[in-house]
């Protein structure tokens, strides 16, 4: 009986320690899956969007909003954590797929690359101040001149 109690105690302690350890490890090693918002300048017309359309906008293959005006796409560097999260979670793609499409256009004269920004702050500033702009942020609500972009 005592042996059993001892054993069970041991297991509980060991298990909870492992649980704690794995939780700590998880918190440290696995980056928090933050929510990402696609943002547009207030000038962008409200239109119905699909995942496919959103991909085409960021791939620079759909270059005009529904009012006929040209899109301005802002992106972070390929290896920026937010860019990786954005392509994966929002576009269901990988950064290298977008890169492939842009490079093929840029180096064959058949299209332009999106505008590169260095930081999230710059992203916010550029999208807020550029007509017809689209970009993304960790949390895009509550900024002036910026509206959240939704797709079905």
């Amino acid at each position: 009986m005592t042996l059993l109690t001892l054993l069970s105690k041991f297991f509980i302690v060991a298990f909870s320690k492992r649980l704690l350890l794995s939780f700590l490890l998880y918190a440290v090693l696995v980056p928090v899956v933050f929510s990402i918002d696609i943002i547009v300048n207030i000038s962008v017309p409200i239109q119905r969007n699909s995942l496919n359309k959103t991909r085409a906008i960021f791939a620079q293959q759909l270059n005009y909003w529904s009012n006929g005006e040209k899109t301005r796409v802002f992106i972070l560097k390929d290896d920026h954590p937010l860019h990786k999260q954005f392509t994966k979670n929002k576009l269901n793609m990988f950064p290298h797929q977008l890169r492939r499409v842009w490079d093929r256009m840029v180096f064959s004269g058949t299209g332009q690359a999106p505008d590169l920004v260095e930081t999230e702050e710059e992203m916010l500033e550029k999208v807020a101040s550029t007509k017809n702009a689209i970009g993304y942020l960790t949390n895009g609500s509550g900024y002036e001149n910026i509206r959240l972009f939704e797709y079905e």
Partner: protein, 398 residues
């Protein structure tokens, strides 16, 4: 040779500085309608036998350099101008030349909910397979040497760009996107290398290309995770003989049909292309009229160990004529049998040091000499059937 190398280094240095300055100044100095991009690539080759891009046989040849600088200007909402200058040297095929790679006006004609239609005019890149339009841009290529059975380096002047027009369209659906290109134009070309490979190294006249058709239909699914394409070219070369020459004014037609398929996963990439090419040579007098079919295909797999490090393997095969796969016809002309075919096993490693600097290396084990250039291998009887090729590449882009 040394002086030549030194002079070249100086020239690169200057160009490189120019590129750096323009890339740093880009964000602040240029208006938003203008984009400037460029690249600079240097390759090194070493082979156990046979020469690739210079004297690589038992030596190291820094034989290929590619420098490009392009500008794109969005003049109006629907009208864009773009141009790219290219400096290139590649072994004895091209000892160094500067050219206009493309220069075009792109007019977006019509947009609808699910697609667009447009036209381009000027010097336009030829769409062919998955890699041809950006074949000189190392970053967009899977390996240092593209599969040579399909993207011949020796006849590249026929395949790079053409002066003419293009109609393009894209249609997006929930189950994939379709893109279509139809180009009609006069291919560029110093066709000396082509002349020596299709006709004979002794031919003294000149090949001139007729306007050619290049068309491609592409289907991609899930943002380019799966890509399928069919490309077709219709090329005609007319021969203008020199005085007192054995060859009369004949012509050649070359009609390649290419099927492409690609999977782009998070870590795994798979690519396969299959080429079936109709060749016809006629009215040369000195040689009988001839029809042949060239076949080439490759399968290629790549794996991203980490996002900046990628391994790649490929098997590629080429038969210049499917009715003479073992080269008996060539042997009858006193050429080695192995000029008729090649089988190439390749292993490579790509390291993206930063997003604008890339290094890679690859090893080829090759059986056959079908895609070797004549310029680098003047005496075919000295070429070897089984050989190894090592290549190293450093490339910078902005």
């Amino acid at each position: 040779m040394k002086t030549y190398g030194y002079l070249n280094m100086n020239r690169w240095g200057l160009l490189f500085c120019a590129l750096l300055i323009s890339s740093n100044g880009q964000a602040e100095l240029l208006p938003e309608e203008i984009q400037i991009h460029g690249f600079l690539t240097q390759d090194f080759f070493h082979s156990s036998d046979n020469n690739v891009n210079g004297l690589s046989d038992d030596g190291i040849s820094p034989g290929r350099t590619e420098i490009g600088l392009n500008i794109s200007y969005q003049a109006f909402e629907r009208l864009t101008f773009s141009a790219q200058g290219l400096y290139r040297r590649a072994g004895y095929i091209d000892k160094g030349s500067v050219g206009l790679d493309y220069a075009l006006a792109d007019l977006n004609l019509f947009n609808y909910q699910k697609g667009h239609i447009g036209i381009r005019g000027g010097r336009i890149k030829i769409p062919f397979g998955l890699y041809n339009e950006t074949r000189d841009v190392a970053f967009t290529n899977p390996t240092i040497l593209l599969p040579q059975g399909i993207y011949f380096d020796r006849s590249r002047s026929l395949l790079t760009s053409a002066d003419g027009g293009s109609l393009y369209a894209q249609h997006r659906t929930a189950w994939g996107n379709f893109s279509f290109k139809f180009n009609y134009g006069l291919p560029l070309g110093d066709n000396e290398e082509i002349m020596s490979t299709i006709l004979a190294p002794t031919a003294k006249g000149e090949f001139k290309a007729n306007p050619a058709i290049a068309t491609q239909i592409m289907y991609d699914l899930n943002g380019g995770e799966y890509v399928f394409a069919v490309s077709y070219l219709d090329l005609k070369l007319k021969y203008h003989p020199a005085d007192n020459e054995v060859f009369s004014s004949g012509y050649n037609t070359i009609r390649p049909l290419l099927f492409s398929a690609q999977y782009n996963g998070e870590k795994l990439g798979l690519t396969a292309e299959y080429l079936y090419r109709w060749n016809h040579s006629k009215n040369y007098d000195a040689t009988p009229d001839n029809r042949s079919i060239t076949e080439s295909w490759f399968v290629q797999g790549s794996y991203r160990f980490i996002s900046r490090l990628q391994g790649i393997a490929r098997y590629e095969t080429l038969s210049l004529s499917i009715e003479d796969r073992s080269g008996n016809y060539a042997a009858a002309f006193g050429l080695p049998n192995h000029i008729a075919y090649s089988k190439d096993w390749m292993l490579g490693l790509r390291w993206d040091v930063t997003s604008s600097l890339m290094m890679r290396t690859e090893y080829h084990r090759i059986h056959g000499t079908a895609w070797l250039s004549q310029s680098d291998n003047q005496d075919r009887s000295k070429t070897r059937e089984n050989w190894d090729l090592y290549a190293l590449q450093v490339s910078y882009r902005f």
